[in-house]
Structures are given as structure tokens and as C-alpha cells.
Assembly symmetry: C2
Homo-oligomer: 190 residues x 2
């Protein structure tokens, strides 16, 4: 490891006071008055998420996966993604993965295998963390999306979904990470 990793990793920011600027069911916006690492007075607005992001890559015996299509309000675009959803702190991550997979695709999985954990989706301003699973031993069923979701479901070869990352058709960072992690694992013979 680099010399740099052995020291100097303490928090160089000083927080003088924190106030809540906005809050709803999903996010809380904190406004902090701070001193920066350079010693200047400053402000830091931080978005704190009520939920962790949990994602699932379902893979069936034929090597197919499922994408979910939905309109994403914040970016004003339609987006094809792997099944993903929010999990309150305290809930089991695997329970969350099971619920989101079932709600969005109708699938039930016999096995959930962790793919990665504790990834920071956008650490410059928000604290959202992402956890991913691969779901196998799949059984079809009936989906039951949230009221806030208007979903389409698409079964396709996992390789085609990875191609959709590489050519830019999948733009959701969390889905991109899940699919490229799997691509890398397969190249490594796992």
C-alpha cells in the first residue's frame, strides 16, 4: 500500500453547526457551517438518505437476466435498469433484495449471493450506499410494483445486458456496476 495510506486519513473538516434545510420520506438535507481542509470558512450541504440502495441481478439457468424499464423523474428520462429499491436501515439487505426482485419482476429466488457492498453512489454531496446481490434458482410469479412505479420487465441474455452498458444504453450507475462486476468475475473464471 502507499505511504499515504498510513497517516493523515483523519477528518480534515471542522463542522461548527448543522441545521436541517429540507426533509421528506426519502431524504434529509443538512446544511453545515464548516471550516474547510484549507482552513477557510465554508458551507457543506449534505443529502442523507433514509434508505440504502439494494440491487439484484437475477440469472436463470439459461443465462438470462431481467431489466426493468421506468421513467426516472429526476433526470426526465426513461431508463432500463436491474431491479433496485430502497431498504430502511435495520432491515436485512437480503430481505430487501428478495422484496424488490419480487415486486418488480415477480421472480422468487432460491439463492441470493452478495456481489458487492457499501458502495458510495455519489460521495461528493450525498451519503447513499449501495448493496448488490446475484439471485439464482429462480421461480416466476406475479409482480406488484409500488404506486410510484410504472414498470416494464424485459428478460434478455446477461451478455446482452453487459453490451448495453458498454454501448451506453444503460445509464444507471448502480446497474452499470452490477453488470460490470459480473463481467469481470466471469473473465476471472469465477
Amino acid at each position: 500500500m502507499a505511504d499515504g495510506e498510513s497517516s493523515g486519513e483523519a477528518n480534515p473538516w471542522t463542522t461548527h453547526d448543522t441545521s436541517i434545510a429540507y426533509e421528506n420520506q426519502w431524504i434529509r438535507v443538512e446544511h453545515n457551517n464548516v471550516t474547510t481542509p484549507g482552513g477557510s470558512p465554508g458551507v457543506y450541504g449534505v443529502i442523507r438518505y433514509a434508505n440504502r440502495a439494494v440491487g439484484v441481478v437475477p440469472i436463470d439457468d439459461e443465462g438470462y437476466t431481467w431489466l426493468v424499464g421506468q421513467y426516472r423523474y429526476p433526470i426526465d428520462e426513461y431508463s432500463w435498469e436491474l431491479p433496485e429499491g430502497g431498504s430502511p436501515y435495520g432491515e436485512s439487505l437480503e430481505d430487501a433484495a428478495r422484496r424488490e426482485l419480487s415486486e418488480e419482476t415477480g421472480l422468487t429466488a432460491g439463492v441470493f449471493t452478495p456481489l458487492f457492498a457499501d458502495v458510495a453512489l455519489s460521495n461528493s454531496v450525498n451519503d447513499e450506499r449501495a448493496y448488490a446481490f446475484v439471485a439464482t434458482e429462480l421461480t416466476p410469479g406475479v409482480s406488484a410494483p409500488d404506486d410510484t412505479e410504472d414498470l416494464k420487465v424485459w428478460r434478455l441474455p446477461l451478455d446482452d445486458a453487459i453490451t448495453m452498458v458498454l454501448d451506453g444504453r444503460i445509464t444507471d450507475a448502480f446497474s452499470i456496476m452490477m453488470l460490470l462486476h459480473l463481467a469481470a468475475q466471469r473473465e476471472n473464471g469465477k
Copy 2:
């Protein structure tokens, strides 16, 4: 492509009114009163970013890259990442990549090659978009970090950085995507 892609991709949300709940130099928080896709009344808080996220993978003739270590205030953790920064809408993305690379590592690059564009880092609540470049034909120089940055710089083999993604030592989503895109391209013989 799936049948689902040919229709039904219009915005299923209705926005009744929008107010600004919080604003600073980097983000604006919009509170929207909406009707959900399911037809129920609801609210949607959206974080709009003043800047696009621009990232760079510097690669030298020996196959080494550079990671930058810094304390990330929102997640209260130290994080090793590729050089990344914010670019105001209107600025040339390549100019932004050149500036961030130079500020954070001191490197000047002869060639910037687009790696991916327009990725949504966390599309459930925010509109932040990410653009990535590979920087080659590198010349060393002197770094000049922002006042808000207290950075360490680490030169290491690109393969080692990819390993740090796969074993979870790199937790920044944008860095993860850049490194796994490169891993996938190399496996494809590009």
C-alpha cells in the same frame, strides 16, 4: 429490442408545482407536488447539481494509473478514487478533465479519449451526470488542489486499481465504473 421499448415511455408523473427548498453553490433542492404514476397525490424532492461530474483515468506508458485519496465529508470516510471533479454546464468536458487531472495529480496529458458519457450517478433522487475520459501521453507536473481538498496521490498499476474495485477497497461508484469499463474493454481486445 423488447416490445416494451416501443411505447409507453412518456413521463407518467404529473408535476403541479415546484419550489426551491434549499440552494448553495453546488446543489439546488426542488420540492415538487406531484401525481404519481399510480394516480395518487405525492411529493418528489429532487437534487439538481450545478456541475457535471467529470472523471479521468490517467494511464502511463508502463500501464500505471493514479489514485487520489481524500476524506469525503458526506460519508465520513477516507476514499481512494480516480481524479474527479465538477464541471459547470457550458464548459467543455475535455477542458474539465484536463483541469481536474492537473489540479489533483499535476499530470498533463497529450490525449483525452472518451470512456463513457452521460451516466446517471443516482437517478432516484438526483440529476447528477458523469462523464469519463482516459488520459494518455502523460507529463508530470505540480498539483494545485482546491481549498476544499486535502489530497494524497498514489501511482500504481492499473491492474492493481481494478483489483481494489473487485475486493471492495475502492467504494466510489464513479471510480468503480471507470475501472470496470476499462477492464471490460481490455477483455474485449480494445
